[in-house]
Every structure is written in structure tokens, then in C-alpha cells.
Symmetry: none
Subunit: 118 residues, 4 copies
């Protein structure tokens, strides 16, 4: 699991970690019930403060992407279909929003789709 961080991005590090882990879940690289690295371990690997990783894991837990068993570590949740569906529909909505903006500029949906094929 290779997590790329961009320190110059406006997106905070902890959120980038969340995004990356969710991405691997959705891609199937991280599978249900699979254990993910311990907070301290990942922090060292990424060269960030353990609190930053902790914050990411807490948020992932809240979103039910992972489950943390106090002394046993953190695991990908059993049921991740919700996550996948949510991610997918989010992305579809993002595209729709951009298309709406383009249409306001007088570009038709057909033109946009044609441009997408190049």
C-alpha cells in the first residue's frame, strides 16, 4: 500500500491519508477484514506525526470504512459496498456539476462528450 502525500496541497495530510486508503479499498487492493498498518507504523513509513494518522483512522472509523479493535489493530470493514457506491455516485455527481458549468458557458452536452473522447 503506497500512500502518496502532497505537502503543498491545500488538502490536509490526514485527509489525503483517508482518501488514499479509501481509494485502495474501492480498488480492491485493501480487502474486507484485512488488517491495515498500526498507526505508529504508518506514521513512521509516511514520515508524519502519529497524531495525523490517528486523526485519519478515527475519521475512517466514523465512516465505517475500518474497524479498530483496541489492542488488536485496525481492519477494513466487512461490508464496504456502501463505501464503493458512495464514492462512485460522488464522482458521477462531480462530473455532472462540471458539465452544468460548461453548459452555462454555452457548450452542449454533446460537444462535451465529444471532447471527452479525444
Amino acid at each position: 500500500m503506497l500512500i502518496n502525500l502532497n505537502y503543498q496541497s491545500r488538502t490536509p495530510i490526514y485527509e489525503q491519508i483517508i482518501d488514499e486508503i479509501e481509494r485502495y479499498v474501492v480498488l480492491g487492493v485493501l480487502k474486507p477484514n484485512e488488517q491495515i498498518p498500526a498507526i505508529r507504523e504508518l506514521a513512521i513509513q509516511l514520515g508524519v506525526n502519529p497524531n495525523t494518522v490517528k486523526k485519519a483512522y478515527e475519521e475512517l472509523e466514523r465512516k465505517k470504512v475500518i474497524v479498530t479493535l483496541s489492542t488488536k489493530g485496525s481492519y477494513i470493514a466487512t461490508n464496504i459496498t456502501d463505501i464503493i457506491n458512495e464514492k462512485t455516485s460522488n464522482k458521477i455527481n462531480e462530473i455532472k456539476a462540471i458539465i452544468k458549468e460548461l453548459e452555462q458557458l454555452g457548450i452542449s452536452k454533446e460537444e462535451i462528450i465529444k471532447k471527452l473522447e479525444n
Copy 2:
């Protein structure tokens, strides 16, 4: 020129001002060589500090969307086709990037386009 600000957004106010002005330029509401409000005037109208508007205008100048003449005010640049084209192609590229992500999840371009039509 109606500029809407969202104080809760993560996008800073000065950037929202930039976005709104660029939007009006692209929409053709603000035309080449047209004078835009004085910094202080817009600041009062928006209820923000002049420095915040100044920062937006500085960035717009850097992007060659406007031209500022000391003591004479700020004007939409003469040539804004670059801006319009850039904006459009940026948006197309954003869509392409999201589509690529979706494809990595095993969703074909055809499926995506079908979803966009709902």
C-alpha cells in the same frame, strides 16, 4: 455583477472573488476593457476588507484576466480568449481525470456516460 460569498467554504474568500469574476468574464457578463469596481468599493459591497479584494485582484492580474492602472482602476483584459479556453479545457480535464478513476473501479466509459444522462 453579483458576487456570492460562502464564508463556511474551505475556499478562501479571495479565491471565491477570483472565481466569480472569472465566471462573469467567461460568461461574457464582464467584457474586455470594461472597468471593474474599485477595490474599496467592492470591499464595501461585499462586506469584506479591502485587502481581501486586493489579493483577489492581484491574482487576477497575474493571470492576465484584468489589468490594473494605479489611480485609474482595474479593467478586464483586452484579450481574454486564453482565459476562456483555459477554463474550458481545465474543466474537460477534470472530467477526464474523474472518468479515469471510475474506469479503474471497473466502470466502463459507456456506463459512465449512461449514468450522466439520468
Copy 3:
């Protein structure tokens, strides 16, 4: 006499007018005793406020580049050799200053002169 103004320059308009007139004097385009445009006239021609031209003329008078005869208009001074010499030596000194900076960067005078020939 074609005076070019750059409204985006940090150099104030009145100073640009001074520079341009001095340039024409040094170039011999404006000759000793030659009459120069009336303040109001030049202001209209340049599209600037008469006060701005007035400020330039006052400064030129102070530098003895021009002489203003209250109701008769403004004239290039009789003796302008000082002006020419001063301008020339100023420029030589500017070059020397830049060369000194380049030398501090480890570039020898010989190298600099070679680069100047390209």
C-alpha cells in the same frame, strides 16, 4: 515628439514624461531654444491630467533642461551639454553597478563583455 507612457509601470507618469523629454533632448530631437508643447496641449495629447504634465515641466525646469517664460511657453534650455553628460555618466554607472553584481556571482568582466557581444 512621441511620448510613450506605460500606465502599469511603477514609475509615475510625470516621471515617464520627464524621462521621455530628456531622452529627446539627449538624442537631439529636441534642440536648444526649441519650444515644447504647452502643458494643456501635451496633457490632451497624452490623455493625462494637466497637473501631471505641470509636475513634469516643473521638475525639468528645476533640472535646467527647460526654461518656462510665463506667458510665452516652455523652451529647451540653451545649454544642454550638462544634461547630456550627466545622462551618459549615469548610464555608465548603472552598467558598472550591474557588472559588480555579476562579478560577485563569480563571472569575470571578460566573460561579461563576451556575453555582451552576442
Copy 4:
């Protein structure tokens, strides 16, 4: 890193800070990846407002002289050869421009170079 400020100069303070830092980069005093002082720290050291230093750092970042990592500080960019080359060629061009002006006054390049040697 000793930064000298001239409060009487027409060059704004933030620009003097930029120039000084660039000078130290070009001189090799500040090296790639080296951390530069925190905004507040430098502000205190120079006796200026943090916003002024911030403005300088922003511009340096835009010019890719430094890289700023939120919460981690600012660092000299990894690749600064462009900066050095640009600075050098800028200075050469400045000299060329002045020489051109002098030539217009009827002074030959040879004469100019001779004057430079005194």
C-alpha cells in the same frame, strides 16, 4: 543570512526581501532544500510585520525559488539553476539595453567598454 532593508527606497520592503533572498540563493549562501526562517521569525528579526514577509515568501514561491510546506516551513527549491541563469541573463540584458541607449547617443560600443574600465 543578513538582510538589509532600506526604508527610504522606492522599492517596497517585501521586494527588497525577495531580492536579498534571491541574491543569497544565487551566491550559494542559501542552498537547495535548506530551510529558511519562519515567517514570524524573520519578521521579528527584520522588525517588520509578518504580512510583509509573507508577501515576499509568496512571490518567491510563485517564482519557484522556495517551496512552502504548511506547518513545516519554507525551503529553498531543489532546482535553482533556472533562477541563477535567469538572474544572470536578466542582468546581461539590462546592460545591453543601456548600451543600446548609449549607442543612440552616438557613443560606440568600443567607447563604452573603454569607459567601463576606468
